[in-house]
Structures are given as C-alpha cells and as structure tokens.
Amino acid sequence: MKAPPLKAKVHVFLKPGVLDVQGKAVEGALHGLGWDGVANVRVGKLLEFDLDGSDPEAAKGELKAMCEKLLANTVIESYKVEVA
C-alpha cells in the first residue's frame, strides 16, 4: 500500500525592505473601515501541495530547492516551508 503523501506548505512574502504596494493599499482600506490599529500589512502567497516521501526533513530540503529555483524570487522575496 502506498504511504499517504506529505502535506507541504510554502509561504512566500516580499522581503522586509521591499515596498509592498498591495500591503499598503490593503492597510489603507482597513483604516478606511475603521480598523485604525492595523499596521505593517504584507500581502504574500501560500502554496499547498502533496509531496511523495516519508522523511519531513528531506522534504524540507526539496521544498527549499523548489523555492530557490522557481517558487520565490530571492532578489525580492523570502520564503518559509512547512511539512506535515
């Protein structure tokens, strides 16, 4: 019987020093709706997928390679990987 796949999550966000114009716009909209306490909104991406394998640590290595190659542009973005 085939083992169930690992569940991968990859979070990609613009790096701290890179202006996030979407985040700024969302922040302005939230202020306009009365949520004055909102600050530093960042809009990012969450990718979820299944990944064959049983070793979460090895899978994390694979996910990092995917981020470096395609999922994130490390000139402007940072990433975080999760495996469950």
Binding site: L14, G17, V18, L19, V21, Q22, A25, K69, L70, L71, N73, V75, I76
Partner: protein, 223 residues
C-alpha cells in the same frame, strides 16, 4: 540581420517585434516557440517580446524563465549573441538571472499605459550607438509590474558599471533611480520596460525605437 522572436503562451507583442525588426532594418525574423530546445543557427539577435507569458502566474516572467527555450537563450547569450527583452521580456530576463534586479508591482498599483519619455544614459552600447547625440526618446509603456528594484549593492554596481541604458524623465512606477532599461555587464543583453517595438515609424506616434534596431544591425555587420 538574422533575428529570432520567442513566443510564449500569452506573448502579445511577438508580431510587433517581428514587424519592427523587418521594417527598421529589413531583418530576417524567425518565430521560435517556447518549447524549442535549440535556436536557429547564426542569429544576430534574440528578442523576448512583451505580453503576459503564462498569464503572469506566480510572478511575471517566472514560468517563462524556466521554459526549454530559455536554456538555449542562456547558451547563446554566453556566446555573445545580442538579446533584447522588452516589457515581459525584461521581466523574464531578470527572472532567468541574465539581468540583475527584479520588476515589482507599479508603486501606484495601476497598469500604466501611455507614451513615455526616456533619457539615453549610455549611447555606447550595441543597442544605442545609432542614436547619435539624441538626448531623449519617446516610446510607449504598457505594464503593471514595471517598478525596477535591486538591493543597494546591486544597484550601486549597475550604476558604477554604466549598465543603466534608459531612465524615465518622469518616473511612472516607482522604479529605483528612474531606471527604465539596463544592460548586462558583458553588454549583449538589454532589458527595458518601454516598447521600441511600438515606436519604429512615425505612423505609430514615434519612430524612436528604430535606431535601436539600426544599432543592432551595425553590430551584426561588424561581427
């Protein structure tokens, strides 16, 4: 002059680029589909056109930069063949690592579509040497992600090496140092957001793009 124009799913300026090269310098142009693993032999110029390759999914140019034809473009670029990336083509060149930096969402969050004036910052390149003493040019701009970004060290290196070829007279999108187009260190790969391919004869409102193709013809003849 022999040129190839790449075609990705979602390219929409590929025919413009073909016509621009044909009309400006009577070049011979082949269209090359993104799944090709080899480019035609004896090319003087590879044009990566504007558009929305792969629907701009993930990031503008990200998917296209991994397509089979880009491996061939990298090989040709290393051999010194001229590569011109316009708009989405500039984004693809940055994503593929052939040019430094990245293109972010326009600072005003709006798609900017209008004629735009540029200063020629470096007129000694193989892309700009036919501009003579012309100081500024008009081309059209049409993009949502044209906001050039590079980290401080990279930006300094780009400036110190005279890699900035065009700057906006009025910055439309938040680009650092008003950068509209840059060239690689070796001087054979140029990326720019404005469209010389939409400004190659007076009927289009400007013929200021034509000298770029004439410059490239000079380089091709000299090679």
């Amino acid at each position: 002059m022999k040129a190839a124009v790449l075609v990705f799913p979602g390219s929409n300026c590929d025919r413009d680029c073909k016509t621009a090269v044909e009309t400006s310098v009577n070049g011979k142009v082949e269209m090359v589909w993104h799944q090709e693993t080899e480019l035609p032999s004896g090319l003087d110029l590879i044009v990566i056109p504007g558009g929305f390759s792969y629907g701009d999914y993930l990031r503008c140019g990200a998917m296209a930069s991994q397509s089979p034809v880009m491996a061939a473009v990298k090989r040709e670029a290393e051999r010194g063949v001229s590569v011109l990336g316009i708009c989405n083509g500039f984004q693809i060149l940055c994503e593929s690592g052939l040019l430094p930096g990245a293109l972010l969402r326009n600072s005003g969050l709006k798609y900017v579509c209008k004629p735009i004036e540029l200063t020629i910052e470096n007129r000694t390149t193989r892309f700009t040497n036919a501009y003579g003493n012309k100081q500024t040019v008009w081309m059209t701009q049409g993009n949502g992600d044209g906001n050039f970004f590079a980290d401080a060290d990279t930006l300094k290196a780009i400036e110190d090496n005279d890699q900035v070829v065009f700057r906006y007279v009025e910055n439309p999108n938040g680009s650092m140092n008003n950068i509209a187009g840059i060239i690689n260190k070796a001087g054979n790969v140029l990326g720019m957001m404005p469209h010389p391919d939409r400004a190659f004869e007076d009927a289009l409102g400007s013929a200021d793009g034509a000298p770029m193709f004439k410059s490239l013809l000079k380089a091709a003849v000299a090679a």
